[in-house]
Symmetry: C2
Subunit: 96 residues, 2 copies
Amino acid sequence: MARERLTSQQLEEGLATLDGWQVSEDKLFRQLEFKDFVAAFGFMTRVALIAQSMDHHPDWTNVYNRVAIHLHTHDSGGITKRDLELAARIDGLLRG
Amino acid sequence: MARERLTSQQLEEGLATLDGWQVSEDKLFRQLEFKDFVAAFGFMTRVALIAQSMDHHPDWTNVYNRVAIHLHTHDSGGITKRDLELAARIDGLLRG
């Protein structure tokens, strides 16, 4: 169930509960900007620990103080409940 | 000097001292594959500490066990001595 691709309606409902995520090429996408590299990489380290504990990992890019995150579920070829869960946990980190 | 763009000859000589780096779109590029996410992110953390100490940071992307690194120097619009230095230190980490 958690690995089944969401319907458009499920995805729309999920997005409404998140902060600043959008859908891009069948992935959840969020772009973040931090004060500097230390802040950006510190954030990534916290996400890495959560991702590992969920056994669900982001595709992400870091350029100095910027982090771009893409979430999708390989097995399903799209966005699943697990992606919404990881996105929500990332939002939780950012709210502090 | 360290922030001056390298000449083709300097770049060629530099590349010859490195492991598995190539030049792509005016950046030094290396693609790495690890056993799993923990190994990949562990490597990234070590690179992050070195990069911060050098005040010279990579552009990089991580997808599960894969890490793609691009090095260039923003100020110079190309590859400088600092990029070769960071690449050499990354190679050093990988040699263990």
